[in-house]
């Protein structure tokens, strides 16, 4: 329709009439859009809002019927309980948060350090049966964790990795390396190999050429990939609950889940722990958002 309008008004003064009509249609549509999006946002964000509210309510307000949305007393006790034990000292939850940081952080770094050079190699060199190898690497992600967790549990018990942070780090790295290779290969493909060729002619070795010229151009891609790897490791639940048993090793997801299941559930504590758990990834993603958007679209567009 727009096309026919343009054709008819290309010379005459009729042009002046058409844009308001279209703008009106546009306004009508945008009102509907905004309404729908608002409704959707409320539905999506309500649980998050409720979690935040619950985390700062006193216990009797948490259980109040009808539910109190606004006029409750704000308390930070639940957050204090997340970090400190009732008798003083650190709480089990705070230990599990620290475990999560260590496990997710180290496994992400490992996956990046192993995956990026591998992706570079797959992108740059003629490797025998390259496609089959890449498919094999990806195939390790086909199975849901719950399928392999029992055999891994048995193996871990044999080699003494059960209930250790190292065990979790290894399994998360193993899951993140294929993802990193696949995602980074797309990014490396985008960087012309000629930069490295030119650098090699200028007197650098192949590895130096990669390090000095290709790697800096890959930073957005690495940031995007690392965020996804970090989110996977941070949120992972199945391996964490099967492969750990003690409070000193357990990561946050099973630890928070462990709060539910007694005779009474301290919902305020659960909510506060969840808020603390959700924050780091949100903050991290926010910090690298520029790279994240650039990275994701860059990798997605083929030349």
């Amino acid at each position: 329709m727009g096309v026919s309008v343009d054709e008819t008004v290309s010379t005459g003064p009729v042009r002046d009439h058409t844009p308001p009509a279209r703008r009106l249609g546009g306004r009508g549509r945008s009102v509907l859009e905004v309404a729908l999006l608002t409704a959707l946002a409320v539905v999506m964000l309500f649980p998050v809002l409720w979690m935040i509210e619950t985390s700062i309510k006193e216990n009797r307000d948490v259980y109040a019927i009808p539910a109190k949305f606004f006029d409750f007393k704000v308390t930070m006790d639940h957050f204090k309980d997340v970090f400190f034990a009732s008798g003083g000292g650190r709480s089990a939850l705070s230990v599990s948060f620290l475990n999560s940081v260590v496990v997710a952080g180290v496994s992400t770094v490992l996956a990046t350090v192993l995956g990026v050079p591998a992706a570079w190699a797959y992108s740059r060199f003629a490797v025998k049966a390259k496609k089959d190898q890449l498919f094999f690497i990806l195939s390790t992600r086909f199975m849901p964790p719950v399928v392999v967790v029992i055999p891994i549990f048995l193996m871990y018990r044999q080699v003494g990795l059960f209930d250790t942070k190292l065990g979790l780090i290894l399994i998360y790295t193993a899951f993140n390396v294929p993802f990193t290779i696949w995602m980074m290969k797309g990014f490396v493909d985008e960087v012309p190999a000629e930069y490295e060729d030119a650098a090699m002619l200028d007197g650098y070795t192949r590895l130096q050429a990669f390090w000095r010229f290709t790697l800096p151009l890959l930073v957005p891609g690495i940031a995007a990939t690392a965020v996804f790897a970090l989110i996977f490791s941070w949120n992972e639940f199945v391996f964490a609950i099967f492969l750990t048993s003690s409070d000193t090793v357990r990561t946050a997801p099973p630890a928070i889940a462990g709060l539910i299941g007694g005779t009474t559930v301290d919902w305020g504590l659960v909510a506060a722990a969840s808020v603390v758990f959700a924050l780091p990834v949100l903050v991290f993603a926010y910090l690298v958002r520029k790279h994240l958007v650039a990275g994701v679209t860059l990798g997605a567009v083929r030349r």
């Binding site: 049966a129 012309p192 030119a198 090699m200 007197g203 070795t205």
Partner: protein
């Protein structure tokens, strides 16, 4: 400066692809040598092997008197210009030019002097403080050329350096490269798939096909006497007319009766194909002397010339290049005759030049 010798080069990739089957080249000191061929013919792989960016499976490469098979690219004392320019994106033009010199560890004043000289030679003055993304394609390629020549290498390797430029700029840069090479007298190996570039630049041209050298010769040799049917069909626009002929009464005669000037010493008992350039044929009024009856199928009016596609009763229509003053309507009955000297003649089965 140095010549380049490539002996029995063979390159096979781990996945089994043979990029270069067998290539022998002998490139003279100070020569502008062009490798020409369709994509996948092995010309770029050969160049990259000379540069040291690919390790050949077998065969030897000598630059000057040095056997460079096992030398890394940096120690071969060559400079290369790439199709995608490959300027370091985070460096200004000035630093891009200085980069290879600093990598060599030259003292600062000399780096400065050489950068200035290269910039003057390629007229880069106003561009020196810009980064690559603020340069046009042509400017980037001039910077890339300048970066190659600051090194004062023993040889330049050019990998389709003009392919990404638009037509007008390409012609300018072609002139510039030819002039520059003449001025510096440095050996240059130039890879292209564009025959116009090859013809206008090269002192000699090597035509590659399927990892083998089909012909090496000066542009005129390559144009006048293509060494194989492949070369005959590859060089020239429009390409040679390949006309099936037989020898009769000491003459070359096509099925349609078109008579061609015979080359001396023709083999008799074989299926032959004559390669006739479009300008060696002539469209005439019907019934003109020595002409065979023919019909105009179509005409391309190019302004300075007309390319007639003519059906003369042979197996294939032939193309004839005529001056714009000679005009025939499409479908008009005409005559066709051969006006050139003896055409190159090929054996159909071996596809090679026999006379």
């Amino acid at each position: 400066m140095a010549g380049i010798e490539v002996t029995a080069l063979h390159k096979r990739y781990p996945d089994g692809t043979v990029a270069v089957d067998h290539v022998d080249l002998s490139i003279g000191d100070g020569e502008l040598f062009v490798m020409l061929g369709p994509s996948g013919c092995g010309k770029t792989t050969t160049l990259r092997a000379i540069a040291g960016l690919e390790r050949q499976t077998t065969g030897d490469i000598r630059i000057g008197d040095t056997l460079v098979n096992d030398l890394p690219p940096a120690e071969r004392d060559i400079a290369m210009v790439f199709q995608f320019y490959a300027l370091y994106p985070h460096l200004r033009t000035r630093d891009n030019l200085a980069f290879p010199l600093r990598a060599e560890g030259l003292p600062k004043p000399e780096v400065h002097e050489r950068v200035e000289e290269a910039a003057r030679l390629m007229r880069l003055g106003p561009l020196l403080d810009r980064r690559p993304h603020r340069l046009s394609g042509g400017e980037q390629q001039r910077v890339a050329l300048a970066r190659a020549l600051v090194r004062r290498p023993r040889a330049f390797l050019m990998d389709e350096p003009l392919t990404n430029l638009d037509a007008e700029l390409r012609a300018d840069m072609r002139t510039e490269i030819k002039h520059l090479q003449g001025e510096l007298g440095t050996t240059m190996v130039y890879v292209t798939h564009d025959q116009v570039e090859a013809m206008s630049l090269g002192h000699r041209i090597a035509i590659l096909n399927k990892g083998r050298v089909e012909q090496i010769g000066t542009p005129l040799e390559v144009y006048d006497r293509p060494a194989s049917l492949f070369c005959a069909a590859f060089i020239g626009s429009p390409p040679m007319n390949l006309i099936e002929v037989e020898v009769a009464d000491g003459k070359l005669r096509s099925q349609s009766g078109l008579v061609l000037t015979p080359p001396p010493s023709l083999p008799r008992d074989r299926c032959l194909v004559a390669g006739v350039r479009p300008e060696a044929l002539e469209v005439t009024e019907p019934g003109a002397e020595r002409s065979v009856p023919a019909r105009v199928v179509s005409a391309e009016w190019l302004g300075d010339e007309i390319i007639y596609v003519v059906d003369h009763g042979g197996q294939r229509d032939v193309r004839v290049r005529m001056p714009p003053t000679v005009r025939f309507a499409a479908d008009a009955p005409v005559g066709l005759r051969h006006t050139g000297g003896p055409p190159p003649v090929y054996d159909v089965s071996t596809e090679e030049l026999v006379a």
